[in-house]
């Protein structure tokens, strides 16, 4: 019996991949009129335990080792395979998700299933536990490699560049009032930090702080800019906008204080928690603002020794 791995990733792949992608197309079949005495040779030379019986690509049944043994034991005279085959065959369609194949293997305890084209009913191939495992591993390996390569390339930047001090600076532009696109910069920043080898918890903290800051720009300003400076010890984020400015920063920092319009509140923001959330996520936060000109927010997050890619003093 296949032990169904309790791994969410494998399950996801099980739904994503189709039977067609994993099945074995190397079809070995027998004709219904083939004699039972020839079956042994077919099974043995192909090292298989069962074989589909077909006529013009149409599946008529399956004949397996057990049928052969039963026939031999009964001592009956030679006959055509179609007389001994199982006609009630459990099949899979090529467009079914792979997880159906896994479930059916578990449910019936068979070693293989014939795979049919849904529309025409034509026999396309067979699928076994081995085929499924091979396809899953192959897919996992490809995905793992792709992300590894990206991460490897990025995480070595700090070691590869020879200088007394190395920092990486990148920028994001925020479009004001565009609620649908809000968060794109934070999302991109988070992915980039992870590729740079930043510890996931730190990347999450930075992302939350920047997301709140980004949301403030979207709500109050026409637009803004996020500048991120990553160096071996810390991440510094500067969010600058050309919005209306904050008249009383102390008041704005008070939890629950908000001047957000109703439409923002309906969307689940503007509850006077943003700046506090940023402060909670940052190791240090500075905010300066000029009414009528705009606001500048500085966030510092120390990348502690958990950081994989670079050493911390």
């Amino acid at each position: 019996m296949i032990t169904y791995p309790k791994a969410p990733k494998i399950q996801e792949l099980g739904y994503e991949l189709k039977v067609r992608q994993a099945m074995n197309r190397n079809l070995i079949t027998v004709e219904p009129r083939t004699s039972m005495s020839k079956l042994r040779g077919v099974l043995r030379s192909n090292r298989i335990s069962g074989v589909p019986v077909t006529r013009e690509n149409k599946l008529l049944g399956v004949i397996c080792v057990e049928d052969l043994v039963n026939w031999l034991m009964s001592g009956a005279k030679d006959c055509a395979i179609e007389e001994k085959m199982s006609k009630d065959v459990v099949t899979l369609c090529a467009d079914e998700p792979l997880v159906h194949a896994i479930n059916k293997l578990q449910q019936y305890g068979f070693f293989h299933f014939p795979v049919l084209e849904r529309e025409s009913g034509e026999l396309l191939g067979t699928i076994t536990r081995e085929d499924i495992i091979r396809k899953l591993l192959q897919k996992l390996e490809i995905e793992y490699r792709e992300e590894e390569i990206r991460r490897y390339r990025a995480s070595h930047i700090f070691e590869d560049i020879m200088a007394d001090k190395t920092s990486l600076i990148f920028q994001y532009y925020i479009v004001g009032q565009d609620f649908n696109r809000a968060g794109e910069s934070s999302s991109a920043l988070k992915k980039s930090l992870k590729r740079l080898g930043t510890h996931p918890d730190i990347a999450r903290r930075v992302a939350i702080a920047v997301y709140e800051a980004e949301m403030n720009v979207v709500i109050y300003a026409r637009g803004g800019e996020i500048t991120v400076k990553v160096d071996p010890n810390q991440i510094r984020i500067e969010v600058e906008d050309s919005g209306p400015g904050i008249p009383d920063i102390e008041k704005a920092m008070r939890p629950g204080y908000s001047t957000a319009p109703e439409w923002v509140r309906e969307l689940g923001f503007g509850a006077g928690m943003g700046l506090n959330n940023i402060k909670k996520c940052a190791d240090e936060m500075n905010i300066t603002s000029t009414v009528g000109k705009g606001t500048r927010l500085e966030i510092y997050v120390a990348t502690k020794k958990e950081s994989v890619s670079y050493e911390v003093k």
């Binding site: 399950q11 739904y15 968060g183 996931p200 689940g268 923001f269 509850a271």
Partner: protein, 120 residues
């Protein structure tokens, strides 16, 4: 509690993603995204129950690393937001129960909240 059981308790429909064996440790029922960002514990496998089915709910889940969102009162996000969720590997569910009913059902079955409290 695994996702399969949660689906059963909430009689929830899967909008995108599926992994019934995925373990969920805590649940956060909230319509205030700033609150979600601030209270979901780091590194926890959290279920978010919410009324809001717009792009920022998906973003919030992505940023705060919340693997599963269940929209209440049968709400469902627009297709572009479903795509966004899929791209980020999120599981989206939809239940006909209200936020209160859905929360109560899960809490009664032993699902803890973000503060760690659970039914005794």
């Amino acid at each position: 509690m695994n996702l399969g059981k949660i689906r059963q308790i909430l009689r929830a429909e899967v909008i995108v993603g599926s992994s019934p064996d995925r373990e969920i440790e805590v649940c956060c029922a909230c319509d205030l995204m700033s609150e979600v960002l601030s209270c979901v514990p780091t590194g926890s496998s959290c279920l978010l129950l919410t009324n809001l089915a717009h792009s920022q709910t998906i973003r919030t889940a992505e940023i705060a690393e919340i693997p599963v969102i269940c929209f209440v009162r049968g709400r469902k996000p627009e297709s572009q937001n479903i795509k966004l969720a899929k791209k980020n590997g999120l599981v989206l569910l939809s239940t006909y129960f209200s936020l209160y009913e859905a929360s109560g059902r899960l809490y009664k079955e032993g699902m803890p909240g973000c503060s760690g409290s659970r039914v005794s």
